[in-house]
Structures are given as C-alpha cells and as structure tokens.
C-alpha cells in the first residue's frame, strides 16, 4: 500500500502565531535603535516613522496574502503564484539570505547582551569565548527546531509574553514621567542631520527594526484555522511593533533622563540621543535607555540585559524556523532540489533544511568573527570591505534581502488581485479601486502601490548608502539565479518560464487542509461565477 509523504502538522495557535512574528520583529529594535540614532541623529524618529509606514504596508500585504494562501513559504509562494517561478525563486532566495543572517546576527547580539552581566563573554575582551557561545546557541536552536515546532513555539510564546510586559512597563514610565514634547521638538530642530544622506542612511538602518513579519506567513501551513487567525494576530503585531519603534525613538529624542549623563570624550555635555548612539552604547541602547527611565530605571537595568538576550535568542530561533520552512516550500515548488523537502518521519520537521541553513549561519559566524579571532585577517577585511566589520556587513545584507523580497511581494499582490479574484480574502488591504479586468470585477490595491514605492526607495537608500551592501546583495541574487537555472536545466524544467501549475485544485486543497471549509465552498462558488462572467464577456 502506498503511503503519503509526511507533512508539517498544524499545531500553532493564535498566540503562537503572534509570538512567531513578535519573536522575529520584536528583537530588531534592540539592535536597530542605537544604529539609527548614530546615523540619523535628531531625525531618528522620522527615519523610524518612514520605515514604519512602509512596514505597515508590508504587514497589510502579508496579512492579506497569508490569510488567502496559507502555505509554508510565505513571500516566495505569493511571488511565484503572482509573477511566476523565476521571480518566486528570487524573492525566496532573498528571504533565505535574510533568515540565515538573522540566525547569526541575533545569536551574536544575544551573547553581547549577556556580556553586560557576564563580562567574560565580551567580544572585545574574549573573542574566542564569544565565538563558541554563539556557535553553541546556533547548534542548540537547530536541535530544538529539529525536535519539532510545538516545543519551539511554546518557547517563543512564553518569552514573547514576558518581553511585551517589560517593554510596556518601560514605555509607560518613560512617557508618563519623563517625556517632554518640547524637548523632542528642540532636539529635532537642533540636531537635524546636516545632509539628506544621513537621513537616508538612517531610514535604511531603520528598516532593520521591522524585518521579520513574514514569520507569521512562514508558519501559516502549521497554523490552526489560518484564514481567521492570521489577520487577527497580524494587525495586533503590526501595531505593537510600530508602537515600540516609535516610542523608543521618541523617548530617545524627547526624554528627560532620570540622572545626569556622563560627559562626552571632549568633556562636553551630550544629549541623550548622542549618548545612546555612541560606540559604547549603541549595541545595548535599549538597555541604557531603560536604565534612565524615572522610578523604573534602576530595576530595568537589572533585567533588561537578560530580557534583551532572551528576545534576541528567540529572534535567532525564528531565523532557523523561517529558513527551513521557506526552503521546504521552494523545494516543493521545484525551485530548489528535493533534498530540502525531506521531512523527518518521527518529528515531521524539515530536518535537512534545518541542518543546511544552520550550517550557512555558522559559516556567516566564522566570517563575521574572523577579524577578531585571527588578527592577521584584519587588514584583508579592511582592504576588501573598506573598513566595515563582519557584523556591519551582515546588517547591510539583512536590509538588502528584506527590501528586495518585499518589493516583489507588493507586485505579486497586485498581480494576484487581477488574476485570482476568486480566492476568498478574509482580510483585504484598505483603499481599493474596483474595475473590470478580463471580464471579471477586480479591486486594484492603492496601498500596495504606496508600499512598493516606499520599499523600493528603501532598497535604493540601502544601495546608495552601504558600499558593501550594493555589491554583496546583488551578487547573492546573481549566484542564486545561476544555481537555479543550472538546477532547472538539469531537471529539464522550464528555465525562464514557469511550470504549469493547477492553481485552482491547489487552492482548493490548501483551504481544505487548513480546515477552512467554508472558504473552500466560497472559492468553488466564486470560480463558477467567474467562469460564467468571463464566458459572457467573451460572447459577442
């Protein structure tokens, strides 16, 4: 008797779905705040606002698409379905770059935060100890994900809850007792960046603080009743992340610290934003800011390093989860070899993908740490990467990968609205223009156009302001395309065109497997009506 291949199991609950997204995006501000303050100075909150508006558009697009097409793969699947196989591969490949960097970057930052309590872990003092700790974290997370999503989902759920409670407390005390709107306006007027270049640099770094929302759609195939759950959790998540990013940046510019700040290197007084954005503090700016909040700051200083480390750890965990799921989905669509879709017979997790992408993450770790582990390689790095260290290089690529894939997702959303009007959309982006296209009534999404222009401008800023990012990012894409074409040629699949896909049957199956039987019926009814409309329109 033939047995069907093992598939991913649906065990992610509404809170689990929220936590997957939060664990990925929520930690970004811990890394991004100091970097943006250092780059955009008094315009940092504007940089976060610009990136935040784009992020809201991205979030709404993912919400609509993930609820309508609840499959593992997220952005890659939407782009493949909307624009074709090769564009689906490019979008997925860009996201894979992001997720593997996510594993390394956040595991690294996690150890940095822990080093505030355990100085033996400080990278600058004990680089080998730091390296082995990050290595152990990556291997540990790979094992956790190998065992199964239920275990790692519960892990995310608990720490996400703790972090949200803590951040709410910090922001409550900060805004109620120390926020001065007149100080905010004064800081922005006096420390506005001298050139637009600084602001563009700030915006390109600020988008780092909003990367990862697609984790919810990556987990869609394992989410219970996804069409109902995803819109609910996504909207809450979009608002929560936007609030935290805007609140921290506004506090950094407009908060009266609870005690005097140390003088700068020249013996002058320094504003709070400059203190948070300097080289000593920008790696732990959230912790420093929290410690300066009145009444609560002394307590926050004790636990925020731990909490930051935990949150960064679960963000790293989301990278393991996301990269393995997207590779699984790409392999199912014949965009990557079948090796990536092998599911462990006992745990039903994509074990091979987990091992491969954690292997990539370890290579990135070695690359990032090498200048410190081997002082001889410092000069080579300085010459080849124009002085940028390994982690900055990874940060550039992180922003590049996200902006590139999000650009394609907006185009795919527009294409799917036009070409697949029958799929029920429990959530739709607002502000749509109805018209008739190929004999059917469709709705053109105006917010998707705004989002595309926004994310494309951020991609332009990344390329303009990051010397290494504009070389390495496109190189990753080109190398991926070469590998893709070679694989498709070897397997005798169409190289530049798409394979024939039976989207109608596939969509019916997706909705059925998701338990969305009402939506499946609605889809079948819509298809019948659509065919009749088109037949009528074609009749002279």
């Amino acid at each position: 008797m033939a047995t069907s291949a093992p598939t991913l199991r649906r065990s992610v609950t509404p809170w689990g779905s929220f936590s997957w997204g939060y664990s990925d995006v929520g930690a970004d501000i811990f890394v991004g705040l100091g970097l943006v303050l250092g780059a955009a100075a008094g315009a940092s909150n504007i940089a976060f606002l610009f990136a935040g508006v784009v992020y809201v558009c991205v979030g709404l697009a993912y919400t609509e698409l993930a609820a309508a097409y609840p499959v593992a793969g997220g952005g890659q699947y939407f782009v493949m379905r909307g624009l074709g196989d090769i564009f689906g591969f490019i979008a997925g490949w860009a996201v894979l770059l992001d997720f593997t960097i996510d594993i390394t970057l956040f595991a690294w930052s996690c150890i940095d935060y822990m080093s505030k309590l355990l100085p033996i872990l400080a990278f600058t003092v004990h680089p080998w100890t730091h390296f082995w700790m990050v290595f152990a974290l990556i291997v540990g997370l790979a094992t956790l994900n190998f065992i199964g999503v239920r275990e790692s989902s519960a892990f995310n759920e608990i720490v996400s809850g703790l972090d949200i409670a803590s951040e709410c407390a910090i922001l409550f005390f900060g805004f109620v007792f120390a926020f001065r709107p007149e100080l905010l306006v004064h800081t922005m007027q006096h420390y506005w960046p001298a050139t637009p270049f600084n602001l563009m640099n700030g915006v390109s770094l600020a988008i780092i603080s909003f990367v990862g929302l697609e984790s919810i759609s990556q987990a869609a195939q394992e989410t219970q009743r996804p069409a109902s759950v995803i819109p609910r959790t996504s909207i809450s998540l979009i608002l929560t992340i936007l609030i935290f990013a805007l609140a921290y940046s506004n506090l950094a510019l407009g908060m009266q610290p609870s005690h005097a700040l140390p003088l700068d290197a020249h013996g002058h007084e320094q504003p709070l934003w400059a203190y948070l954005g300097n080289e000593d503090n920008n790696g732990a700016s959230v912790q420093v800011l929290a410690s300066l909040v009145p009444y609560y700051g002394a307590f926050a200083a004790l636990y925020v390093p731990v909490l930051g480390a935990i949150l960064l750890l679960i963000s790293s965990n989301s990278g393991v989860f996301g990269s393995s799921r997207i590779a699984y989905a790409m392999s199912q669509a014949n965009l990557l070899p079948s090796l990536f879709r092998r599911v462990h017979p006992k745990f039903r997790t994509p074990a091979v993908s987990i091992a491969i992408f954690c292997g990539f993450a370890i290579l990135e770790l070695i690359f990032a740490a090498l200048p410190s582990l081997s002082p001889g390689s410092k000069d080579v790095y300085a010459r080849l990467f124009r002085g940028e260290d390994g982690i900055t290089f990874l940060g550039d690529l992180y922003a590049f990968g996200a902006a590139a894939s999000y650009s394609f997702v907006f185009l795919a959303l527009i294409a799917l609205r036009l070409n697949d009007p029958a799929s029920p959309r429990k959530f739709k982006m607002p502000f749509n223009v109805p018209f008739t296209y190929k004999g059917a009534r469709v709705e053109f999404p105006l917010v998707a156009v705004v989002g595309f222009l926004g994310i494309f401008s951020i991609l332009f800023f990344v390329m303009l302001t990051h010397v290494i990012g504009r070389i390495a990012g496109p190189s990753w894409i080109v190398l991926g395309i070469i590998g893709y074409l070679a694989y498709r040629r070897y397997k005798k699949y169409p190289m530049f065109r798409s394979q024939s896909h039976d989207w109608r049957n596939q969509q019916t199956k997706i909705l059925q497997e998701a338990g969305e039987l009402e939506l499946m019926d609605e889809y079948l009814t819509n298809l019948k009506a659509l065919d009749e409309q088109r037949a009528k329109a074609a009749t002279p």
Partner: protein, 70 residues
C-alpha cells in the same frame, strides 16, 4: 499555556492592556498638542499616540468578536 490563552481572564487582560494603551495614547496626543501645538517635528509623536489608540480599539473589537462567537 493553551488553556491560559483560551480563558476569559486572558481575554479580559488583553482588552485591559488595550484600554491602557488607548489612555496612554490619548495622554501623549494631548500633552504634545498642548505643549508644542501642531508642528511637523511632533509628527512621530502624533502617530505614536494614534497607534496606541488604534491598538486599544483593535483589542476591544477582538474582545467583542470573541464574546459574540461564544
């Protein structure tokens, strides 16, 4: 964990936090407008206040929907 997030107490806690967020948003908006008026520089503060109020509204709407389902 699963039992906690499905409980009535959890739903009430969520709507309570949402209400607190909305109040904080209203305070932020009021204080910003009262002290600096309508200025471009204060735009991120207005957006923050509006987002907090929106979060409160979303939580309240979810709570209402969950109650009507049960």
């Amino acid at each position: 964990m699963r039992n906690v997030v499905r409980s009535e107490g959890y739903a009430r806690a969520r709507v309570g936090i949402g209400a607190a967020a909305a109040v904080l948003g209203a305070i932020t908006l009021y204080r910003t407008v009262a002290s600096v008026g309508l200025k471009f520089e204060a735009l991120p503060a207005y957006v923050l206040g509006a987002a907090l109020i929106a979060l409160g509204y979303v939580r309240w709407r979810e709570y209402r929907a969950a109650r009507s389902e049960s």
